[in-house]
Assembly symmetry: C2
Homo-oligomer: 194 residues x 2
């Protein structure tokens, strides 16, 4: 009673993993990209609010997208470029409009360790939080660079309007995290000298 597995798995078949749509989305900005370039784009943008997929996964994903005719290829020597197809645009739009986004999942090792702070020393926790602040600063700077690169095409209606909204979102998020972390460091310091 199963569907023919050789048939187009979309629609009706199993839904694609979100990362497939994420990569497909990277291909909607007008250019043809190689797997290698897709990875670079992902590292620049997706990593801040999704994940930076491993190189090998990028290649597995584009292979799948190709199989499903959601992308086409242009081969030049040893280099294969991927371009989104009409079917790909359709699948992406369909996914956006009909499946709920879902609530974010946060894997926050710093908060997790703080939760069980009583198993170690306060100084250990302070070091951890200070390192986290430093990493936040680095990451914020990276994202600010990306945001700066969008200036000039970030007005409403322009190609990078939405990416700029998301980048600003991320900057605010990093600022917020930094403030909460500093506040928490303050509360820890109070514990030392009460």
């Amino acid at each position: 009673m199963r569907q023919d597995p050789a048939a187009q798995p979309l629609p009706g078949g199993p839904p694609l993993p979100v990362t497939s749509y994420a990569l497909l989305g990277l291909l909607t900005f007008g250019d043809e990209l190689t797997g290698y370039e897709l990875k670079q784009r992902a590292d620049m943008t997706l990593r801040f609010y999704w994940t930076a997929p491993a190189m090998s996964q990028v290649y597995t994903e584009v292979a799948r997208l190709l199989r499903l005719d959601l992308v086409t290829t242009t081969v030049e020597g040893r280099t294969t470029r991927y371009r989104i197809t009409g079917a790909g645009q359709g699948a992406l739009r369909e996914w956006m409009d009909t499946t709920p986004a879902g609530f974010p999942v946060l894997k926050h090792p710093v908060a997790l360790r703080l939760l069980m702070g009583h198993v170690t020393e306060v100084s250990e926790l302070q070091t951890m939080l200070e390192e986290y602040v430093a990493e936040l600063v680095t990451n914020r700077a990276d994202l600010a660079e990306v945001r700066a690169s969008l200036v000039g095409a970030d007005a409403p209606g322009e190609l990078f309007f939405y990416p700029s909204l998301v980048a600003d979102w991320g900057l605010d998020y990093f600022d917020g995290e930094r403030e909460v972390t500093l506040k928490t460091l303050d509360r820890l310091a109070q514990e030392n000298d009460q």
Copy 2:
């Protein structure tokens, strides 16, 4: 040239997944818990900044912890309760003090979809963001309830001091997200009536 796999995998063997330490951490608050209760605790606390593991995973994890002597069991009829051992305390402390926490990973489907906002209608995005705000309100309320349950044992030096720090962190995070989302909705509205 491999280690004897029957030997104690810790230390020297493969490190435990973070979720193991998370569950171990839940057992450091003084009580013996069943797998079922561990799942409940995880749903109440871990879910906000780590994950709520599936029921089946909880049982697989406690089996592993038992195999490694990081927990012991007390069997009463069909019910098995888990208690952390000295070795468990040691492994947890060791993990906290010697392995870096790492930067948080955020899987944010709302931001991801906003990034490719140009493939759909603005109204679609507005609906998505409004739903997200609603979910944030619900989640914030859930966390506020947890936070309220800690009152009375949340002073420095008390058992739930650290959990209360983390809960307050989470509340601030939810508030921040809500504000950014509303701000983004404003910017989207400007696009409509420019």
